[in-house]
């Protein structure tokens, strides 16, 4: 059963979190994500959860890591400048395999940039922004419906893979209000149970994910950002151990890329193929809708990281990929790595969504 609502994207995100059982939110308000925090502040305490406004985004990220180890489904929400501050602790979450959800409603950067305008400029930062090698999962919603659904999915992926998961929204989708069908119930995936008495960071499972030894359940566990052995104890000068640990952190995500890949393929026989995620999806949809011939391909991606490059190969006749992004071609560059045909980046900065006319012009241009 579902009910109809007319919600803002940020409201839908917060409601998705509540539906997924989020019971801890630590954050610091920043445009254009503030409505997520406002909605959680209003609703979460009434459901028995905890809302804390932290002193900044460094502390916000730290708070959700702590809450997660205490067994909470924990989330924060921010935008560009706050996201930059979170980077150190995002690496800590990746290293300590802490499930958590970070919402980034992207605005124009760099620096404080354009607080009230839309952008997708943090797509590479989310993948590589903290130091060292690691892997994360990033989801990009294009509708208010997806702000809800992908938030739910983010919590499930975070718990399944013990990794920070990012809802990489943009101001366009975060602030628009539109029709949404809200389900009564959502799917909920649990963390892998921990086997008492075993080393807390040991895993022999093919998915490379260790069971979660939640604080307060009797298991002594040392959680450190230092390179650690299976017991969780620092072993920072052991080259082989470091290699094995970091490889496992990356492989547990990269190996599951096809399993978690979420995308739609439209007109797979097309020669010209748009690839889009987030806000620009809506413009591509309009171009396809208005096109007299059914000959434009479209790969609509929801899981941008790990990048589902297998989906590109489905367009067997593709002669060119066109990538509209509200950045200077961040994912276009990723796509170039995976295809042999030309990749045309259609970058747009300034805070406004591509118009259908701009995409039609790019489609008709030879170069």
């Amino acid at each position: 059963m579902t009910r109809t609502e007319f919600w803002q994207g940020n409201t839908a995100c917060a409601e998705g979190a509540l539906a997924a059982g989020c019971n801890f939110f630590g954050g610091y308000p920043i445009t254009p994500s503030t409505e997520v925090a406002e909605h959680m502040a209003a609703k979460l305490p009434k459901k028995g959860g905890v809302f804390i406004q932290m002193e900044d985004e460094i502390a916000s990220m730290a708070s959700i890591i702590g809450a997660s180890w205490a067994g909470s489904r924990a989330m924060t929400a921010t935008s560009g400048p706050g996201f930059s501050l979170m980077m150190e602790n995002i690496g800590f979450a990746a290293m300590t395999e802490t499930p958590c959800v970070v919402v980034n409603v992207q605005r124009g950067g760099p620096s404080t940039g354009q607080p009230t305008m839309s952008a997708q400029g943090d797509m590479m930062q989310v993948r590589f922004g903290s130091h060292g090698d690691y892997a994360i999962i990033a989801l990009c919603p294009a509708t208010v419906q997806e702000m809800f659904e992908l938030t739910v999915k983010a919590f499930n992926l975070a718990d399944k893979y013990r990794v920070p998961v990012f809802l990489m929204a943009d101001e366009t989708v975060g602030h628009m209000r539109e029709k949404i069908l809200v389900p009564d119930k959502v799917e909920r995936v649990s963390r892998k149970p921990f086997v008492p008495g075993t080393p807390p960071f040991r895993t022999t499972d093919p998915d490379l994910v260790p069971g979660f030894p939640q604080f307060g359940t009797g298991q002594h566990v040392h959680v450190t950002g230092l390179t650690h052995d299976e017991r969780g104890y620092p072993a920072a000068t052991n080259p082989g151990l470091h290699m094995a640990l970091v490889k496992r952190l990356v492989d547990k995500i990269e190996n599951a890329r096809y399993e978690m890949a979420d995308y739609d393929i439209i007109n797979p026989d097309a020669e010209q193929v748009f690839v889009a995620y987030g806000g620009p999806v809506r413009t591509v949809q309009q171009v396809l809708h208005d096109s007299p011939n059914n000959d434009i391909g479209f790969l609509r991606i929801r899981t941008v990281w790990p990048f589902p490059e297998n989906a590109l190969a489905e367009f067997r006749n593709a002669r060119r990929f066109l990538i509209p992004e509200m950045n200077l071609g961040q994912i276009a560059r990723e796509i170039e790595r995976h295809v042999k045909v030309p990749v045309k980046s259609i970058p747009k900065l300034g805070g406004e969504l591509h118009t259908p006319a701009e995409l039609v012009a790019a489609l008709e241009a030879k170069q």
Partner: protein
């Protein structure tokens, strides 16, 4: 049928709330699709505020307004910034108590602020007067849907005042 509606006025008039109420009426009570967007920044600080609504029988793909076919303009600055380019076949409802310019397209003059002040003793509901007039003049949503969406959206204790404002707008907006 896609309608693109643009609201502009000054911060504090309830421009954004008007757009939210209209979108809500379409989605929740007329079983249509709607997307509401807005320009952020000035709504809390004065200056020209602007919000837009796309209403369609089918799912809305491109969410932004490219060529409004309906304008609701409630300040002179709003007209200059967001209404001056209006052309046929668009229709513009202006709050004639506050806007002295007139567009090239068809224009319906609604003295909303003046009427709200004189008849209802509250100029704060001028935006609801404009919504009533909008629905009477364009039928972009049904009267019943508008009424329900207003009741969902206004503060407790102000329902009667806002419904009177809507009725006043419905009368002012009826075209001969």
């Amino acid at each position: 049928m896609r309608n693109e509606v643009r609201f502009s006025g000054f911060g504090g008039q309830g421009i954004i709330l008007s757009a939210v109420i209209l979108g809500r009426a379409a989605v929740m009570y007329d079983n249509k699709f709607a997307v509401q967007t807005q320009v952020y920044g000035p709504e809390a600080r004065g200056g020209a505020s602007m919000s837009q609504v796309v209403i369609d029988d089918a799912e809305i793909l491109y969410p932004k307004v490219a060529h409004p076919d309906i304008y609701i303009i409630m300040s002179q600055e709003g007209f200059e910034k967001y209404g001056a380019g209006a052309e046929d076949p668009a229709v513009m409802l202006v709050d004639s108590s506050l806007v002295h310019s007139r567009p090239k397209c068809r224009c319906i003059e609604i003295p909303a602020t003046q009427e709200a002040k004189q008849t209802l003793k509250k100029d704060i509901v001028a935006n609801i007067v404009m919504l009533g007039a909008l629905v009477a003049a364009t039928h972009v949503v049904s009267e019943e849907a508008l009424k329900k969406a207003i009741l969902d959206s206004v503060p407790k204790g102000t329902e009667e005042l806002n419904l009177k404002a809507m009725q006043l707008g419905l009368q002012l907006g009826k075209q001969p």
